[in-house]
């Protein structure tokens, strides 16, 4: 469908990662630069580094990479999980026992 240019621009401005305000255009640009894993896109754009840690955008980033590069979704692993897997305040580390 032919779109009005204004609408096309609007679509590219759609946020994929709301926490870090990373747009569809940002992510597509990163993929075109060769960042073709969920972790790589995260490192390049910060998508998935916010409060929700990619729980909302992670799967969408994988879909966008797959769509643009043809890499099957099976090969696009979720970004590497690190502890704490829940958002915590730095203050709690004060009393942290030695692991």
């Amino acid at each position: 469908m032919d779109k009005e240019p204004a609408e096309e621009v609007k679509e590219k401005e759609v946020l994929i990662c709301r926490c870090e305000e990373v747009s569809l255009a940002d992510i597509e640009a990163a993929i075109d630069e060769g960042f073709i894993t969920v972790d790589d896109v995260k490192r390049r754009t910060r998508a998935g580094m916010g409060l929700c840690q990619g729980r909302t955008c992670g799967k969408q980033v994988a879909l966008l990479i797959s769509k643009r590069t043809g890499i099957p979704l099976e090969q696009l692993l979720p970004s590497t999980a690190r502890s704490p897997v829940r958002p915590e305040k730095m203050g709690i580390f004060e009393g942290e026992p030695d692991a």
Binding site: M1, V14, A81, A99
Partner: protein, 369 residues
Amino acid sequence: MEKREVIIVGAGPAGLSAAVEAATAGCGVLLIDENSKPGGQLFKQIHKFFGSQEHKAGIRGIDIGKRLLEEAENLHIEVWLDSEVCGIFDANKVWVVRNKKETVLLQGDRIIIATGASENAVHFPGWHLPGVMGAGAAQTMINIHRVLPGEKVLMVGSGNVGVIVSYQLLQAGAEVVGVIEAAPRLGGYGVHTAKVRRAGVPFFVSHVVAAAEGKDRVEKVRIVQVDPRWNPVPGTEKTLKADTICLATGLTPLTELAFLAGCESTYSPVLGGHVPWHNSAMRTSVRHIFIAGDISGVEEASTAMEEGRMAGLQAAASLGHVDEADAMIRGKAIQARLDALRSGLFGEKRKNAKESIFSAMGNSNNGAR
């Protein structure tokens, strides 16, 4: 460092069932949940469940939740609420933050991860506007907090979550302006779908959201028909007045803790994507760690409860609390109930997907012993 025989992460249907089973077998159990109440999503399931008698079919989710809680109380299971498990290290150490302030490291002989799943998002212009939310979030608002998320709701996705939440939104007093489905056919069980249709809600198959519009929140939504290659069909756009858009576009297993702990992953599109590999005993590639419920593949509360029982039983057996012959007999009975739940048009696909996970690594060196 404090020690427990079995530490269970998540007190939803899977975690609660695992706790009851393991405690019944004689294990010392600690059940941990980040919420201030146990039960997971069960207490917002005000509809009756499917299955046969032994699956508690015909009983509402909320009542199943109450029964499970009673069982757990009668067994004096130790429960930590408002407690977030932030990491699992060295295969058996669990890092917990209690009440957002106290940090505790525990050692578990066995860990059962039953963290559930999170809702999938889809993006379209305007999806960041207030008023766009997960269907599960809307269900929590109406059934737990008794707050209507909006007055005119568009439901995106016609699977069971989409149609069940649509009906409950109607019951709560909202108007559902439509249910749209990107696929050419509806996805939910007929009985749920028909109730919504009988209430006069229009269904639009092969339709997606083109854009949500509004100044400070959703005021209207444009939907458009798509062709078999998912391209918008010119001239098919419709504008609906809506202040709320609910996304019922599937769930993704919450796998962070399992992958952080080193569990091998396997991929199953039918079950929600990448999941920790597990065998039919719900044991992962890390031998201390078991999983149950949506983390092992998105299904339903009824299957989650049976998987929880399986994980609880097998964890107890692996610690010597149940003798081998007994564990085998009871395990077979649970498996038979799981197979019964995974039958029929929708169930068969899940059964096959589960079996291909079980066989994916069963013979490898990384497989659970």
